[in-house]
Symmetry: C2
C-alpha cells in the first residue's frame, strides 16, 4: 500500500530532468535518503531501476574480472548476487547457510582468513525469500579488518528495521522503493562510502554496464555538475520524495517500533492457527513474516481465496520453498493493526471452511492481546 500523498505526488505535472526546480528536488531526495540510510555519504542517490538494478549497480561497479568476492547465500537474493558476480567475471566464494538460517559471521571470518585478498563481502540484510534478518555489525568489522568492501542488500529492510550504514561500516548499500519505503517499485536508493567511491575511481577498466555506471551517474547527482547521463525518471522521484518525507515525519525509531509491534501480533495470531515461523529464532524480520505451511493445508488454494475473496495478496515460497511457506509482508504503510487483523480473520475463515483448523477465534484473540499489551507509539 502506498500513502495517498505519494500517489498524488506521482501525478504532479512534469518538469525537465535538468530544470533547476527538479535539481533542487534531487538535493532534497539525497538529504532525505542520507537520513534514512543513516549515513553522511555524499554519494547517496536513487538508481533508475528497481531493487535488482540497485543490486547490479552495486556489484558491477565494485567487481572487476578476477576479483574475489564473498557472497552470503541463504536464499533467493543471495543466489542472485552470486549470479551477478559470475557475470562480472569475479571469483565467487559462497558462504552458504540453509534457507531460514542466518549467514554466521564466524563462517565469513573463516573464509576471509583463508581466501587471500578479497575485494568485497556481500550479504542480504533482509532475505525476502525466507524472512531472515541478517546481523551486520560483526561482518562490517571483519570487512574493515580484512580490507574488503562491505556490500549490503537492504531491499526489504530500509526504513522497516534498524540499519546504520555509517556505524556498521557498510560501504555499499542499496534498497528498493516498494518495500518499507512504501513508494511504487521503480527506483533503487543506493549509497557509497568514500572507500567504495575510490574503488570506482581506480578501476582498471570501465564498468561493464553503461546504464548503471555509477561514475557517470555521479556527474548527474553531484551539485554543481549535473551533467546529463540518462533522463531521470521524474515522476518516480516526485513519489520517492514524498515517501521519504512521510518516513521522516513518522520518525525512524517510531517506524521500526510499529513494524515490530504489528509483526509480533501477526505472528502470535499465525501461531494460534498452527503456522510456525520458518526462520531461525531471534532472526525474524518484522517486515516479511515467513511461516511454514503444515499438512494438509494447500498453498495455492489459500492464497487465491485470500486474493479473490478478501483482496489480500500474500507471497508463496520462492525456489526450494515453493509450496512450503507463506510470506506475509507488513511493510511501510501496509504494516498496520488493521491489516494484521484483516489477514488473520481472512486466513482463519478460509482454514475453518476447509476444516484445516477446528476452533474459531483464537488467531484474532492472540493478536489482539499483543496489541493491548504493547501500545502504539505516539
Amino acid at each position: 500500500m502506498v500513502h495517498p500523498r505519494v500517489l498524488r505526488a506521482l501525478s504532479t505535472p512534469l518538469v525537465g530532468h535538468l530544470d533547476p526546480a527538479f535539481l533542487s528536488l534531487m538535493d532534497e531526495i539525497q538529504e532525505l535518503l542520507r537520513l534514512t540510510f543513516r549515513t553522511r555519504n555524499q554519494f547517496t542517490i536513487a538508481v533508475s531501476g528497481t531493487g535488482s538494478a540497485g543490486m547490479e549497480a552495486a556489484l558491477v561497479n565494485m567487481v572487476e574480472p578476477g576479483d574475489s568476492v564473498i557472497i552470503g547465500v541463504n536464499g533467493v537474493f543471495g543466489s542472485r548476487m552470486a549470479a551477478i558476480v559470475e557475470r562480472c567475471g569475479g571469483r565467487l566464494i559462497c558462504v552458504e547457510a540453509p534457507w531460514g538460517q542466518i549467514v554466521e559471521p564466524d563462517a565469513v571470518a573463516a573464509v576471509l582468513t583463508r581466501s587471500g585478498p578479497v575485494k568485497a563481502v556481500a550479504v542480504v540484510h533482509a532475505e525476502t525469500s525466507t524472512g531472515v534478518h541478517q546481523p551486520l555489525e560483526e561482518i562490517g568489522r571483519l570487512c574493515r579488518q580484512g580490507d574488503a568492501l562491505f556490500v549490503v542488500d537492504a531491499v526489504t529492510s530500509l526504513a522497516g528495521v534498524p540499519l546504520e550504514v555509517d556505524a556498521w561500516a557498510i560501504d555499499v548499500c542499496y534498497s528498493g522503493t516498494q518495500k518499507c519505503l512504501s513508494c511504487p517499485p521503480g527506483l533503487a536508493p543506493l549509497t557509497l562510502s568514500e572507500r567504495a567511491l575510490s574503488v570506482i575511481r581506480n578501476r582498471k577498466g570501465p564498468c561493464q554496464s553503461w546504464y548503471l555506471d555509477l561514475a557517470l551517474a555521479a556527474d548527474y547527482w553531484t551539485e554543481g555538475k549535473r551533467a546529463y547521463h540518462h533522463t531521470a525518471p521524474v515522476s518516480m522521484l516526485y513519489g520517492l520524495r514524498e515517501a521519504l518525507r512521510l518516513v521522516q515525519e513518522e520518525g525512524l525509531e517510531a517506524r521500526f517500533a510499529r513494524h515490530r509491534r504489528n509483526s509480533t501480533a501477526l505472528m502470535a495470531g499465525l501461531e494460534a492457527l498452527g503456522l510456525a515461523p520458518f526462520p531461525q529464532e531471534g532472526y525474524r524480520l518484522p517486515s516479511l513474516n515467513c511461516v511454514k505451511i503444515p499438512a494438509p493445508m494447500e498453498d495455492r488454494a489459500v492464497r487465491s481465496e485470500l486474493l479473490q475473496d478478501y483482496g489480500i495478496e500474500i507471497g508463496g515460497g520462492l525456489g526450494q520453498l515453493q509450496g512450503k511457506v507463506w510470506r506475509i509482508g507488513l511493510m511501510g504503510e501496509s504494516s498496520s493493526q488493521a491489516n494484521v487483523l484483516h489477514v488473520l480473520s481472512a486466513l482463519e475463515a478460509i482454514l475453518l471452511r476447509r476444516n484445516w483448523i477446528v476452533r474459531p477465534g483464537t488467531a484474532v484473540e492472540s493478536a489482539s492481546r499483543v496489541f493491548a499489551t504493547s501500545p502504539a507509539a505516539q
Copy 2:
C-alpha cells in the same frame, strides 16, 4: 507535457506485480506496443529503465565478445551505442557522418561488404542531439542480405514519425516513454524479431547484465509463464498503458501528420527569426527541431529567459554542438499549435529586447500562414 489522463493513471492505487489484474494489464500493454511499433513480434515489452536502459538491453543481449558490430555515428546517441558495444567486448566498426548529416546507406553497404561476418548494424532513427531523421529501409535490406541483425534506436521517433518495424526488417527496436509517447521517463519499449530472439537463445555465454537479460525478462512477459524476474514498475506501466491508448485513439497517421504540421510551422517561424535549420535538408525530424544559433545571439541567456520568464524549456547543444544549436522538442502532447505560437512569441520578444533582431511579428506570422494553409487532421 503529459496528458492529464496519464498523470491520473500514475496515481492509481497499486496491485502486486504478479496479481492477475496486473498481468492482464501487461497483455494489453504488449498489444498496444505492437500496434505502435507496427510489428507482430511476440517479444514486445517495456524494459524497466529509461531509453538508455533500452539501448543497453538491445546491445548487451545481442553482442558477445569478439562479435563485429557496425554502428552509425553522427551524434551523441550513436556514440553512446559505440561505447556500449566496446563495454560488451564487441569489435566496433563505426560508420561516421558529420553531425547534422544522415549515415549514408551506401557507406554502410561498403563497410558490410569488406568487414567479414557482422553480427549487427545499429543506427539511430531520430538523433536527438542533431535533429537528423535517419532513413532505415535501405539499411534494413542490406542487413538481411548480409545476415546481420538490424538494431534501431527509436527513442525520439516512436509514435512521432513513421516507423515500420516489420516492413523495414528491423530486428531490435527500442524507445523511451518520455518522447513522442508523452509518458513520464522511466520505461523503454523494446521489441525483438524471431531472428533476434534466436540469437539470444543461442548465446555462447550469459548476457553480462542480469537486470537487462532479456531471456530472463521473457519469462515474465510471456503469457502463461509470468515467472518472477524483477519487480515490475507498476505505476509507470499504468501510465504507459494510458499513453498508448491515447496514441491509438488519435491514430498513428493523424499523429504523424500533426507532428509534421507543427514542425513545419515552427521552422517557418524560426527561419523568419534568422535561425536556419541545422540538419541536412530532407532529413529533419518534426519531433526535434534543431537550429543554428547565429552570432551575436547567446545560447544560455536566451534559454534561461525562456525558462524563467515563459516557462518554456528548449534544449541546448550536446557535445560538440554546445552553444551552437538550439533543439526545440515538439513531441507527443507537446506538439501543438499553441506551443509553436508560444515559443515563437517568446523567442521573438527575447531577441527583440536584446536587439538581436529588428522587426517584430514575422515569426508568428510565418507560422500562422502554415497553420492556415494546412488544416489540422480531424
